[in-house]
Symmetry: C2
Subunit: 488 residues, 2 copies
């Protein structure tokens, strides 16, 4: 293996125009930084080439953004969170294909996106047999290396060796030989603590020693905390009704202000000790673990801030006992989510009066990040909760609208909606009943009159089980385009 | 058990106003006809009462329609196919809740729709221990009896006793004790050949001796056969590419002209011998079985015509070896569909240029049947194909539209679209690429110019990854309302 160690520049030279590259890692965690920075430098020297880049985790601005600026990405598959890449995608300068994360690796293996030329992964260690120990995120790396023609490893010495063993790598068999995924409880170890690769495929190993991370940009404002409180109150009432115990059922949480606010409110509550079954998680989980409120957590990536990672390294032994890091294909797997009876909490961009959720496209057109694992969770969870603020842009935009301009989650995958205004429990309700709940409990008061009027008029004009006035359905959105506000 | 035999009138007397009744059976197959006809007669005598009726299979007009006409249904959950009920639902005289069939039984057990007072099931036999052998459909019966307070059995002597053993009844454990569903191959027997019930709960057994069925209303017109041919050609090309062997992967098919046309074309093709993993199936499967083209079929209900059932009884021994009838929760289960790598073929009402599918609501408002198991199949299959005619109503309505007026399946759950015009293979494409494929390959030529114009204008006006012109998105639909046609 030592003979394969090369400089990052040398490794980057192996990439040719038109190649399909699969990588892994997310945001500020576990992505092969040295390799991609060296790749970007080739453009600075005047070289012209483009790659197709596949990765389900939204990787950091410094990769997606830099490569985009230099014109190096022709096609990007998976989620993205880079402002620069997003702009290019929405200007259609970069082709972007958004995919449910749980199914994405399987579809890559199946060859749906053509041949995968190179897989580039960060590793905290390589075993004597040439197997790879990933770092703070697993995501689609273990799948990519199965089908990639060649593998480049960025070996990062900065991770404490004690982290080894935190990973649980399992990739389902190909069809028609696929077996049940043997995961019955969140903390069941079903795989190996490293990724098996064909050592012959490893063409380069780059050495690196920096843990990148980012500032904690979370601001738990009043609104987020109110949403958090509403969700926790709702769960507490479910406990009182006997739906589940105080330990709840395995919980899915995402990233961002509202997910952090929910963790903050969980900390104050008498709920727990919890099991977490989620794709990625932020700093808040450390508080919950410190408070003894977590029995175990399965995730595909730790997306901590610099301070969060400092805490994590400091008490690694404690945290490691509570965490298993798995491939995104398992973290977001329909089969496992259905079996565990997950309580799924996902963010939304807008929700319509009948409960359809848009979580990806502004005005139905401009993509934000992508849908990630939210589809698998919303469809297969025992309880599917969506959270969002009732309004945005200083109250100019209502998040509750007559008809969603893009649908990522249909009415059938949405049980509960929470905004800072309140909670709409949609279970067992028909469309008209749902509409009343959503308008009265979740919409911002400034828009309730309009929404009530739309519902009333739709019922009057249009025979139908889920009545819509098609000429009016997007009036709020058109008002926003014309007047800069949905009001009036 | 003999002591529990009562007249159908007596059994019907046990139903009180406001009760929640769960039943099972579908269309013209395996529904408790005698019981519901006796229940309807109570209304003829001037009695006033209403029930809530839960069943995932669309039961026959003679139940859903008759009960609706007599004002006996306040709330109906699951799919429906009755013209009379549908009208009442769309006039909002009966509350209707449509639900994905695979998740529906679990949600009923969970108590989401309140207490289930009575389960009413047809049986072809009752064992000595009081266990129930269902007849030609299983659907949600085995789940209903688990949670119902009381059970009424309609024992139908008309079925040949040799059918016993065709059933494979397995209901997953409740959360958090749920285990992997041990189904690895389509024909794996994972359960029991009868439904276990608590004999104490059985309050009445009604005797019956008529097998109801219906005429085969299937008309395989030129258009359906063209769709069928396109789908089979597409699958044959996939075989040539090495995606799977001639035996394909387990196939899901629905009901109706196009599903029958696909079976007809399969018969002519060199594909097979096939495995079928589907919820319900029509007469065409018998031709495929007769031709030795089926290795095995898992279904939840046989929805044959009278002639189809006559064939089925005549060669029961042969067919029985090839069929397992399972609860709808297994037939439509995400976990199993994902594991088997199903090729799912589902019908659609309209499809938009970016690949979102409306399979349930005309003009976004009026529900047709419901979504059944299509959600679980589209989301979790290895290959998700949607079929529809490119136009309807003598060419006045385009099935390909700029934006779907209701979304049941998002762009991420749709791999292939086939109309009589051709096949759009959307795998690995971004929204703009998908739009071109759908317009050029699937849309009716009469509407292509309009759709191309919409796409061109949307790209021009609106920065966005999936550009829409919200003020124009439903122009075709509005034209239809105003002028009776989408043309012009």
């Amino acid at each position: 293996m030592i003979s394969k160690i090369v400089s990052k520049e040398e490794a980057a030279e192996s990439i040719q125009d038109g190649m399909v590259i699969g990588t892994s890692g997310g945001d500020a965690s576990a992505f092969p930084k040295a390799f991609f920075s060296a790749l970007a430098k080739r453009a600075d020297k005047g070289e012209r080439f483009q790659i197709q880049l596949l990765t389900s985790g939204p990787i950091a601005e410094e990769i997606d953004g830099t490569l985009t600026q230099k014109g190096l990405i022709s096609r990007r598959l998976g989620q993205q969170s880079s402002t620069i890449l997003r702009k290019a995608v929405n200007q259609r300068k970069v082709i972007f294909i958004d995919l449910p994360s749980g199914m994405f690796p399987m579809k890559v293996r199946e060859g749906r996106f053509g041949r995968l030329d190179v897989a580039v992964l960060e590793a905290m260690a390589i075993t004597e047999d040439g197997f790879i120990v990933p770092s703070t995120a697993v995501l689609d790396g273990p799948s990519h290396v199965q089908v990639a023609e060649k593998i480049i490893i960025e070996l990062n010495y900065a991770y404490p060796p004690e982290m080894e063993g935190i990973h649980d790598i399992y990739i389902p068999e190909p069809h028609p030989y696929r077996k049940p995924i043997p995961l019955i409880h969140v903390m069941d170890r079903i795989g190996l603590p490293y990724i098996i690769v064909d050592p012959e495929k490893i063409i380069a190993i780059i050495e690196s020693d920096q843990i990148y991370s980012g500032e904690n940009s979370i601001v738990m404002d009043k609104e987020s905390l109110q949403v958090g409180r509403h969700v926790i109150n709702f769960l507490q009432k479910e406990v009182e009704k006997g739906s589940f115990t105080k330990a709840l059922l395995p919980l899915e949480l995402g990233l961002g202000n509202m997910a952090e606010a929910i963790m903050h409110e969980l900390l104050q509550s008498d709920l727990g000790p919890l099991e977490i079954y989620t794709a990625v998680i932020g700093d808040g989980i450390l508080d919950l673990m410190d408070a003894g409120k977590v029995r175990g957590m399965s995730a595909s990536g730790l997306y901590f801030s610099t301070k969060g990672f400092e805490r994590f390294w400091r008490d690694l032994k404690k945290y490691k006992d509570l965490i298993l890091l798995r491939p995104v294909e398992i973290a977001d797997c329909s089969e496992v989510i259905l079996r565990l009876g997950v309580i799924a909490i996902n963010g939304a961009l807008e929700v319509d009066i009948y409960g359809h959720v848009n979580s990806s496209h502004i005005q139905g057109s401009q993509v934000i990040t992508g849908i990630g694992g939210s589809v698998e969770f919303a469809q297969n969870s025992l309880l599917s909760i969506f959270i969002l603020p009732s309004s945005r842009n200083d109250g100019k935009i209502s998040s509750i609208v007559p008809m969603a301009t893009h649908v990522d989650h249909t009415e059938h995958a949405v049980d509960v909606i929470a905004t800072e205004q309140g909670v709409a429990d949609l279970r067992g309700l028909d469309p008209i009943e749902r509409a009343s709940q959503i308008i009265e409990k979740c919409a911002h008061p400034d828009f309730r009159t309009y929404l009530r009027g739309y519902l009333k008029q739709a019922k009057k004009e249009n025979f139908g089980h889920e009545p819509h006035i098609l000429r009016e359905a997007f009036s709020l959105h058109l008002n926003l385009i014309e007047k800069g506000t949905m009001k009036g």
